[in-house]
């Protein structure tokens, strides 16, 4: 399955990536190749195989509802590129 240039634009937008025209052309080829490779699976007859949602077949292990300790705020905010009022500060987003 070959991707169109528009598909690549769309995927790049969803990932918030700015790509040059050269990159778009390169990724379009690479992504198309990956999809073509996966397409080989379509030749298998899966009529009687239930859809698989993951590789773990046991059901969820549930955790008891007991609150523990949060991480020290300073450790958390050390990951922030910028901070204000003990919060992460990011470029403005329209709401």
């Amino acid at each position: 399955m070959a991707l169109s240039k528009k598909d690549v634009d769309h995927i790049a937008h969803l990932a918030r990536l700015h790509l040059s025209d050269a990159e778009k052309a390169r990724f379009r080829k690479q992504l198309s190749d990956i999809l073509a490779h996966v397409d080989a699976l379509q030749s298998l007859d899966t009529t009687d195989v239930p859809a698989m949602s993951g590789a773990i077949f046991e059901g969820s292990r549930l955790r008891e509802d007991i609150a523990g300790d949060a991480m020290p705020r300073e450790d958390l905010l050390r990951n922030a590129p910028d901070r204000e009022n003990n919060q992460f500060r990011v470029p403005p987003v329209l709401d």
Binding site: H10, H13, L14, A15, R16, S53, G54, A55, I56, F57, E58, G59, S60, R61, L62, R63, E64, D65, I66, A67, G68, A70, M71, R73, L76, L77, N79, E84, N85, N86, Q87, F88, R89, V90, P91, P92, V93, L94, D95
Partner: protein, 492 residues
Amino acid sequence: MTTQYEAVVGLEVHAVMETQSKMFCDCPVVDSTHHEPNVAVCPVCAGMPGMLPVLNKAAVEFALRVALALHCEINSTSIFARKSYFYPDLPKGFQISQYEQPLAVNGWLRIPTESGELRVGIRRVHLEEDTGKLTHLGEDGDRRTLVDLNRSGVPLLEIVTEPDLHTVEAVRNCAYALRSIMRYLEVNSGNLEKGLLRIEPNISIRERGSQALSTRVEIKNLNSFRSLERALEFELARQAELVDAGGAVQQQTLGWDDVRGSTQAQRSKEVAEDYRYFPEPDLPPLVVDDKWVREIEADLPELPQEKRKRFVEMVGLSDYDAGLLVAERSVAEFFDAALGAIHKADAKMLANWITGPLFELLNKDGYSIESLPFGPEPFAELVDMVASGEINASSARSVLSEMAANGKKPKELVQARGLAQISSETDIGELAERVIQKNSQQVADYVAGKDEVLNWFFGQAMLASQGKANPTLLRQALRVQLDAARAQKEAS
């Protein structure tokens, strides 16, 4: 809106499951509206690489309570999915939600409306995680957004109804009913202002009589029931006007602006939503075994609409009174317990004393019924004292406020304050006689045919008794004595 159109509304409701810890990590759930920011966060809910979610049992149990109360089919295996989008409130870049195989589907609830009970379908009920909280600050070049992750990963229940609601009243009652059910189930406190409960209507209109579904608009940012009603009215009128003018409704999400009283476009989207849902690889399927589901079902409390029915059909209350009593579980339980404790009063009188003087007291002093220093038994005792004539209604009201202030038993208070009603016929007769003898001018008026002077005598006598006279007996005694004076005059 003109009567030519019919509203078609469905609700999407998000309710925080008020557990102790978050959905996928053991960070405490805190009040994100006024708690110190970023103090209930760990590597899991901060979305740090390599962290793995572990599902909170209570979140699943709370969700099952709601799903069962809404008569849903429970999927014994449900799947968590990643909903991908970039926004700073989601540190992972995706929200863990449920998509193709949600926890529960195909339920219903009954809601009261002016034209009788309405059955509203429930399309699905699923679990997802809440996002962080954003604060937008500054102007022009200084604009920035702050991120607090305390709310990130808090368990959230999404309930989607069928578009079965066709009037503003039905939408409001459906929202109330869902809120009330979740409060009864003790999974959500129902606070819209704090965003613990978020109600988002999907609104469209169609020609009356048509069965077609038209383009719908979703409304967000409703932080009170009043806003919900105003937004509905505004949006229905806007759509009708648009269609009347030959326009077409655009599918979009609008935000309600409470100050302007109108809906506003929220964020412009150049491209349609594309969330690329796929099964969450870090979580195995959620399997709920039937035994657990049956246990939760068996433990469900009697729900508001069932209680309302019972109060009307078995207890004999009016539908209106029953509705007032069942709105809060604590009030309904107070009524039930008091009903079991009364000997002389009847259910109707008890209901009136709760929805009247007791509610008045709660509203005035900002009490909740649970925080009162007296329980249903002393309250029943007080109402019984009124029913038997031991005290009159106005004394009972003042005893009630004292009970709220000091928690003392009504009998004690009545005794200590000498409020016992004067009900002996002899005492009442003497009281009437004293007042009549002192006021010869008014007696003359009555004798001359002014019947309304009786009320004046009644007031004087009640005052003289310091409000303790049995009002029925007093009025009767006054009338008898005054009529006797009139008869004497006519005879002479």
